[in-house]
Symmetry: C2
Subunit: 566 residues, 2 copies
């Protein structure tokens, strides 16, 4: 009997600075080929404006170039690594991207940025997720929604962000009417890439991402899709008109956006017509790639942390206050996707190591500090920190909050501060998990992914000891791209030699590393005592309503800071 040839799926992971391609064996999750393409435009792929620190754009041509270069490279590696590997056995492609990263397109779906007249116009490029030029518009949208449509805000933590879809478009309408007028529609990067690969680029025909729409554009079936035309028109009549040129239907990533075009198939050396899944955001497919399922909490730990979990859509779930987003199907079809996060995690440790540099670059390295911090007992330093050095994304939803360190003495050592900072991020994580729990979302175990999860067992052990939960680590080092590949395999479906469901794909392609970090009961007990104190600080400095509020201390410091820096 001739053995059946192995089948593969591609995961395309469009990040802030580069695109990564992963070739995955859909039977066992073996990652047989990979390639990274650094975006050539701007500074590390980001178009900046020296006059406006809030501005961050991306050149959509970089994405196309990235696909053209990185896919063949990844396939070439697979050929080298796997005897008899043939790209003909790639059965599907999945796409994950940053977001909200919308770009203006014409009637055919072609980005304005690709036209000569707009090539150098920053407003015609993709508005990268971290662009904050629309902060005034975000406040305006929040205020208007709070007044007339509180339901719009209920699913996104009570505040509409400057990083999101409508803030950006509204800002463009006001800042650059020419671009705004030339834009027939706007598409998310997560919509644009599958459109590009399938040739279905027309804004009204392409299959839009549920994940992007639900999290960033206040799309919800409850109120008939996007926010009401009247609401948008009140912000700007042109925004109301734009609504008709956007979408009223969205799709989950188990659905194929279409088939790979002949041209692309030729360019990439793949079979034409293979399934290209509807796109989604990186963290959400990272959750899929890490094996998310009801009761499991996925932490994608990087410079910041994104938390993903799911809840069966058939079961009732109240709005969870302070959560960034609850969107039906954003992670898995048939499930509410729940997204939370911490604005800074690795960035806090990096700040201490790279900016404070205690003892100099050598003595103050992550490795040296981790070694010394590992020898300390919980609570023995007398230190306690608030992990808000980049604000608080979930529960308090306040980007302007700042970090705090208490318990300092003349004997306080750098490794004690380092450990206190790690513990603070663990207390932040526990605060999110408890908020889920309070609203009925019980967490059984936690799967972590990202560099810190893989390389720093001290962080994982502290997380286990603080939360009292087992900390597992995803087997793949590229869970976002792996999740995208799973989407590709599921979009292909059984008929296309792929998987029938995400559950099937996860079972076959996913996995957990052998080492599990289990909570130590004695340490957990101490940490719960410390957590009570963390909560006192958290509530005092983070909430206006706290009696004898110190909330004002943080906010008034910022007001003075703003004035003095002007």
């Amino acid at each position: 009997m001739v053995p059946k040839a192995a089948k593969y799926a591609l995961g395309l992971d469009f990040g802030t600075n580069s695109v990564r391609v992963l070739v995955v064996d859909i039977a066992n999750g073996n990652e047989v080929g990979t390639s990274i393409f650094d975006y050539p435009s701007g500074t590390a792929g980001i178009l900046l404006d020296i006059k406006d620190a809030n501005l961050a754009r991306q050149n959509p041509a970089d994405w196309t170039l990235g696909i053209e270069v990185a896919v063949p490279e990844a396939l070439a590696e697979a050929k080298k690594k796997v005897k008899g590997f043939d790209p003909i056995n790639v059965i599907g492609i999945g796409v994950d991207t940053t977001g909200s990263t919308p770009l203006p397109v014409d009637r055919s779906g072609k980005p304005l940025a690709l036209y000569k007249e707009f090539k150098k116009n920053l407003n015609a490029q993709a508005w990268l997720w971290k662009d904050h030029t629309g902060h005034a518009e975000a406040a305006e949208i929040t205020a208007l929604a709070a007044a007339g449509h509180p339901e719009y805000l209920a699913k996104c933590g009570g505040t509409y962000s400057s990083e999101w879809f409508w803030s950006k478009i509204l800002h463009c309408l006001r800042a650059d009417p020419k671009v705004a007028a030339a834009a027939f529609s706007w598409v998310e990067c997560a919509d644009y890439i599958p459109g590009l690969l399938t040739g279905i680029t027309e804004p009204l025909k392409m299959k839009r991402s549920r994940c992007a729409a639900g999290h960033k554009a206040m799309f919800n079936a409850k109120w008939g899709g996007l926010p009401a035309k009247a609401f948008l028109a009140k912000l700007d009549p042109r925004l109301g008109e734009l609504r008709d040129r956007l979408y009223d239907k969205t799709y989950t990533s188990d659905v194929a956006a279409g088939g790979l075009t002949k041209d692309w198939a030729k360019t990439l050396g793949l079979r034409p017509g293979i399934a290209v899944a509807v796109g989604a955001f990186d963290a959400h497919l990272g959750g899929v790639g890490s094996g998310v399922e009801p009761g499991r909490f996925v932490k994608i730990i990087g410079t910041s942390t994104c938390d993903i979990c799911v809840w069966p859509a058939a079961k009732k779930l109240p709005d969870v206050p302070g959560l960034c987003g609850i969107v039906d199907g954003s992670v898995l079809p048939g499930c509410l996707g729940l997204e939370a996060g911490q604005s800074a995690v690795g960035d806090i440790f990096n700040w201490f190591v790279n900016v404070i540099e205690p003892g100099g670059p050598k003595k103050g390295s992550h490795a040296a500090l981790t070694r010394k911090a590992a020898a300390l007992e919980p609570g023995a330093s007398g230190l306690l920190a608030l992990d808000w050095l980049n604000g608080n994304r979930t529960v308090l939803v306040d980007q302007r909050l700042t970090g705090l360190l208490v318990g300092l003495t003349l004997h306080t050592r750098p490794e004690e501060i380092y450990r206190a900072l790690i513990e603070a991020t663990a207390f932040g994580a526990l605060t999110i998990i408890r908020r889920f729990d309070e609203y009925g979302v019980k967490i059984r175990d936690v799967v972590n992914c990202g560099g810190i999860a893989e390389k720093n067992p001290l962080v994982m052990q502290i997380y286990a000891d603080v939360t009292g939960l087992e900390m597992k680590v995803a087997r793949s080092a590229q869970t976002c791209a792996l999740g995208a590949a799973m989407a590709g395999a599921v979009a292909a479906g059984r008929r296309g030699n792929g998987h029938a469901t995400f559950a099937e794909a996860q079972a076959a392609m996913g996995g957990i590393r052998r080492t599990v970090h289990r909570p130590d009961a004695a340490r957990h007990k101490i940490y719960l005592e410390l957590y009570d104190l963390y909560r006192e600080l958290h509530d005092a400095f983070g909430t206006k309503s706290w009696g004898g509020s110190l909330f004002n201390v943080m906010k008034e410091l910022l007001a003075i800071k703003d004035r003095q820096r002007r």
Copy 2:
């Protein structure tokens, strides 16, 4: 006409690690000779016990040796520097010492430590100011006084310290009955040295220091001197008995304890019979040396800061809560001496530079950080700190409080933290000055002395900008020894070719440096805003009574820390 020969006074400054001798021209304050003698015993002059970190003792023989070596050296330097200098023109000697540093003596006033049988017994040595072995006894004394004699505590900030006279003796009574029984009496170092030099060593005959007695032994004319016999006997019957072998009269430092003995005159090359002033504590004579007078606040800034000011005894002054001590004549005769302080100042900056070492030893030096911190505007970092890294000595009187830093972001730079720490000590200083002010003690200007005052104009400018007061710097780099020399000149009196009063001595021998740091109105305004926020943190973390108290956070962190370090 033969010019009248210049007259000189010696200042003997007995510190923690060494004794310093200063030869001063009483007409103009010229410091013509100086010498430092490092105590040879123990670790940098401190006898330690590896089994008890609270223990810190001193060998009284080191003091004698120090006088024998350093006085001739200082005189020799004067001879070299001043043509025609003759020790015969030294007309008086003043003495300042650490305190409370009591030692057990026999009936003749000879220290038990000098007897062979007690030579190696740490309890027979001088109990250095920083010895905390009597912490349990201090709590006992505080409790008993609070219950029956609140007036005893009213003048010492509400809490009797383990660093003070009775705590130490009571601890000795319990820990070493043999030493306690052999001790006919106990004398402060400030009493012992003048006794030694004048030969009036008998405990009941020597002239005891008002400063030492009033600040550390709860001596006050209001209740007939030392605490009541019944009170002491309740603590321990032997302590009640000891009271009869102590003193019922004390003296200010304008009074001569006696004349220099023939033997000492010979040993030191001085005239026999010259006045030796009654001793006082270093900070108090440092205040005198810095020109303290009503309305002037003297800050002796070192690793910690001691604040000294005076108030005419004839004018009514209420008890100032949170002040370490208010003692009639402890600084100037006819004035109440008011002592306050900050538990850590230079030590905080040293901690950041030497323990945290931001950027390594070079980038994180005081000079480098000061240079960068000087370029910052008040409030521009968004940081605010509490200066309690070694507790809070004045106003809160709580040694267990800890430091805090709020406003941290991923962009926070080491020099911003350094400046915030300097500002925190300035806010701490302002809190003390305001407490004085609230009780009627108006401050007109501030004279600073100590290394930081002399060498770091940024610190002085920040102090001026925060307090809104002019910061002056004492001319002398040795204000304690200079103050002691003034005492020597005043004790000699007009008849002994010295000065009639301290005011006269200060006018002749003291002085202020030319550079005065004047507050900048705009910066002062910002700092007052920041100070309001400092006070919110101060009250929240420092006082139990604050609504929604965070006081518990600091204290519970310490409770956990103590448990986890055991």
